[in-house]
Amino acid sequence: MAVATPPRRSAGAERASTTARSTTLQRFLRYRPGVIGLIVLLLLALLTIIVPLVAGFDPAAADANPWARAFYAGRLSLLIAFGALLLGDGIGLLLAIVVGTSQGIGNAIGGVANALLAWPLLPIALVLLALFGPGIGSLIVVLALLRWPNAVRLVRDRLNAINDRSYVQAARALNASSGQIMTRHLLPHVLPAVAANAALGFGSLLLLEGAISFLGFGVPAGSLSWGSAVRLDGDMTSLWQIVLPGLLLTFAALCTLLIGEGLRRTTEARVRL
């Protein structure tokens, strides 16, 4: 999922940069827990596809294998969180670039983002979903709506921090266009932070989706996600039916925290350079 894009560099520079200036990817690989988190999360995503197929899972059957059921539920949770993350952070990144380049609209967007950030996400999500009705599509859209201010604030802060650096000023003095400055000099320094933020955001979206679907406002009735799988309605045949989905969700969230920490470290090293 959210792997940081290494900054563009020529092949020669790449070879020379083994110790002092390593790429973002190399720096990420150096943080073991982050790498393990990434592997486990990918494995978990793979298992949500494989396990129900192998175990012959029937979502309608009450006495289904709890493991197959828990992994099956993960499909929808991961899909919704990932969709909302792409949509929300994509919108956020675009808006943040507008914020960073133009003053007037930028301040307005920044103000709206800041005001939204003070609000807890769950009640707003519940109100919106109660108004628009439950559903996978509406859940993704609502989560994305709540997500974008986060990305805007992060990118805005980062852009402000490096906007006055000497190399940016030098590029400006050399008459580089604002688009060139953005893609060559600003974005490469912002994207690792965006990736770290996205990794953490993926986990919190998973947890938020779980809470919403658990309360019955998220995925439509009858469909399984990690949240709706632990609702106490229907026929429960074993305790594992509610223990396992929560455990898998916890592990997925833990993985995103580790990945986020690993990515954060790469950005820290960058700032010190």
Binding site: W119, P123, V127, L207, V230, R231, L232
Partner: protein, 283 residues
């Protein structure tokens, strides 16, 4: 000083008014079925919204107070300890695990354990989000004090587990930052005993703690909604979910306005606290 506080209060007031207008606009989408916007439509038809919210408020305050009393000291202690050492793998992994726990699931697990302890052990309501009926609101809100206090224990415990994990990580990073501050390096250079230095860490952590408690407000509100619903505990979060489920929009609107007010107050306080802390650090 007064200028900045007034300035912040004014800004918070503007934010509150904007939020209130947004809430009113949003509620124009609601299909108008019941009567006016001041009385309940479905849960307790005809009863004043203010009265209903006021009768549920004490229960939520009890849960939040209890959770804060449990989590604030523990979070400070753990966060400071983890921050002082350069490496604290056990504490780090414990808090990481705690921060990844889904509140609704953790609450459910605790509820199941409580159910094993015997009927009605620390539980006042029915467990789970599927509680169908509305019940008599008055009866629920007027439950015995002892029953309310006992019922608040498990929700508060669930909330504080997640709270400790999150807040202690903030405290830890603030203590780590403090280690590089000149006055701490100075203290170390003077050869002051570690205990004295630790006290200075703790003081710095306590500054960030008050700010952290305000920063934790959004998570606390979300957590209260989930936890109260899981345990069927009659507080504002439970009321919110029930009102949404039965399309009782005046109650929803009232609760959202209350939340907007709370946020306005919290952001003002946060600004004041941070301003004070900054002054002290750089003075």
């Amino acid at each position: 000083m007064t200028g900045t506080v007034g300035d912040r209060a004014l800004r918070a007031l503007i934010a509150f008014v904007v939020a209130a207008i947004a809430i009113v606009l949003l509620l124009q989408l609601v299909p108008q079925v019941g009567g006016g916007w001041t009385t309940s439509w479905a849960l307790q038809p005809g009863m004043s919204v203010v009265q209903i919210i006021a009768s549920f408020l004490p229960n939520t305050l009890l849960v939040v107070l209890l959770a804060t009393l449990i989590s604030a000291p523990l979070a400070t202690l753990l966060g400071t300890r983890a921050g002082i050492r350069s490496r604290a793998p056990l504490l780090d992994s414990l808090t990481l695990f705690g921060a990844s726990l889904p509140v609704f699931w953790l609450g459910l697990m605790l509820a199941i354990v409580a159910l094993q302890m015997g009927p009605g052990f620390l539980l006042v309501g029915e467990i789970g989000p599927t509680r169908p009926g509305t019940g008599d609101i008055n009866q629920i809100a007027d439950a015995l004090l002892l029953e309310r206090v006992l019922g608040a224990v498990l929700p508060a415990l669930t909330l504080s587990m997640v709270g400790i994990a999150t807040v202690s990580r903030w405290v830890r990073s603030s203590v780590r930052e403090t280690q590089d501050r000149p006055y701490v390096q100075m203290a170390r250079a003077r050869g002051l005993p570690q205990q004295v230095i630790n006290q200075r860490y703790a003081r710095s952590a306590s500054h960030s703690l008050s700010s952290a408690l305000i920063r934790a407000l959004p998570a606390l509100v979300g957590g209260t909604i989930v936890v109260e619903t899981v345990f069927g505990y009659p507080g504002l979060g439970w009321l919110f979910v029930q009102a949404l489920r039965s399309n009782d929009w005046p109650i929803v609107a009232g609760l959202l306005l209350l939340l907007a007010l709370l946020i306005a107050i919290a952001t003002t306080l946060d600004g004041v606290v941070r301003g004070n802390a900054r002054r002290r650090t750089y003075a």
